[in-house]
Amino acid sequence: MGILFSFSVVVAIILLVIAGVSGAGLNFLFGVIFPYIALLIFIVGVTYRVVQWGSSAVPFRVPTTGGQQTSLPWIKANKIDNPTTSYGVIFRMLFEVLLFRSLFRNTKSELREGPMLVHGSEKLLWLAAIVFHYSFLIILLRHMRFFTVPVPTPIEFLEFIDSFFQVGAPLVYITNFTIVIALLYLLYRRLAMPQIRYISLPSDYFPLFLILAIAITGIIMRYFEKVDIVGVKQITMGLVSFRPVIPDNIGVIFYIHLTLVCTLFAYFPFSKLVHMAGIFLSPTRNLANNNRMVRHVNPWDYPVKVRSYQEYEDEFRDKMKKSGIPVEKE
């Protein structure tokens, strides 16, 4: 039910845009108002989430240690998986954020029998995740060309790299395909592996369908149902400069693409997609394992009722004396 529901929502959005733009001519609403609203929701929402998390206390320093601790000088410590310094923590976070190190741990190192396919299946999750996230990032950066005049050199360089294997025009971007393949694998995995399917919620399928739809409409626009690029840039530059314009003759496919992106932005803060920001705040990863060196203070620490030694001795004094255990009060 989750799958169908999520899929229908994405289809409904597309139909809405078609009706709105082609039917009712609400180009300004879809081309200008929605993007602004979505961006506003995104910025306010994500900031709100991060501030919320940040306002939660970190009472204890509880990193998950993934390697040898720092102890005696002749024992080689693992300074990244079990960091004791801020540098170590920064490295650990970099590995985590840039390379998905924990996910990579998932690979099994040995096999007694069985086909390689099975062996690699867990590495595939890591691979698909890496491919998806980096493709998404590159595509996002590439889109900066629509919001800048002149297009900065790094963006042009990125486009060059991304289309490295291509001759002819229009340039085919590698990431356009890798993102779709990665998304399809992630979707396949959710459907085909019973235990993953069991844990999946509509809110797991929805972002997959949504981003898939964004990617596909983008591809269609670029290679098949070409839109008026000059017009598109007019819109985007208009948005950036707060002097919105709506040129004519931009195909409805552009509005579909744009509205799906707006949906993604607006949906982002309310969904699991906030993991992007949350990972930086995860106390099992961003803290050093140095509690025995440096004291960590609990901001909401409060006095608790304890049983004192005096009470203990009062209860057992006679027995202690009888068995020769020293006491405070004779």
């Binding site: 099994k108 040995e110 096999l111 007694r112 029998e113 069985g114 086909p115 099975v118 062996h119 299946s121 592996m193 019973p194 235990q195 399917r197 069991y198």
Partner: protein
């Protein structure tokens, strides 16, 4: 000999079917994992059952299966099922699956007309063998359950062993079972 050849020919497919039937007694989310994850340390239950069933199949197609070899194989599977969510009958029922699987294989291979003479008798002898395994399985199951109760008692004793000893409630040396 007819039956043995028949089984030997189809050994891997039959024992694979047997394994699948056993694994399907688990929730479906789990079953797929038990079937597919081949790392013996990442999937101890699945790989133990797989090995047990494979070797068990090799044993029961022998004319005179070696009980000494069969017991540890049965044990490896039943020991797991004895502490999982199975009743006694459910825990040992997997033995009988093989009859069913072979019978279906007959149906697929032969029609009534070309059913080889003698195969029926051989199969009924085979079925008796399987029944004997089932009886052995009950013994093993009971031993596992008894072990569980024994361990419960032993553990409580271990935890306070020195206290009991000191209070002269235990005099013998620590009893380590087996």
């Amino acid at each position: 000999m007819l039956l043995k050849d028949f089984l030997l020919e189809r050994k891997s497919s039959l024992s694979a079917k047997w394994f699948e039937r056993v694994v399907e007694t688990y929730p479906s989310e789990t079953a797929k994992f038990l079937k597919n994850q081949k790392d013996p340390f990442g999937n101890p239950v699945g790989s133990t059952i797989l090995q047990g069933i494979d070797n068990l199949f090799n044993q029961i197609i022998e004319d005179e299966p070696d009980t000494e070899k069969i017991l540890p194989l049965l044990d490896s599977i039943i020991r797991i099922r004895a502490i999982q969510d199975f009743s006694a009958s459910e825990a040992v029922a997997f033995i009988f699956y093989i009859k069913d699987i072979i019978r279906q294989e007959f149906e697929r291979t032969y029609t009534n007309s070309n059913y080889p003479a003698g195969l029926r008798e051989e199969f009924s002898r085979f079925e008796a063998k399987v029944d004997r395994l089932a009886l052995l399985s009950f013994d093993i199951y009971m031993r596992c359950r008894e072990k569980i109760y024994e361990l419960k008692a032993q553990e409580v004793k271990n935890m306070t062993y020195r206290l009991l000893q000191q209070a002269k409630l235990i005099v013998e040396s620590p009893e380590r079972s087996d």
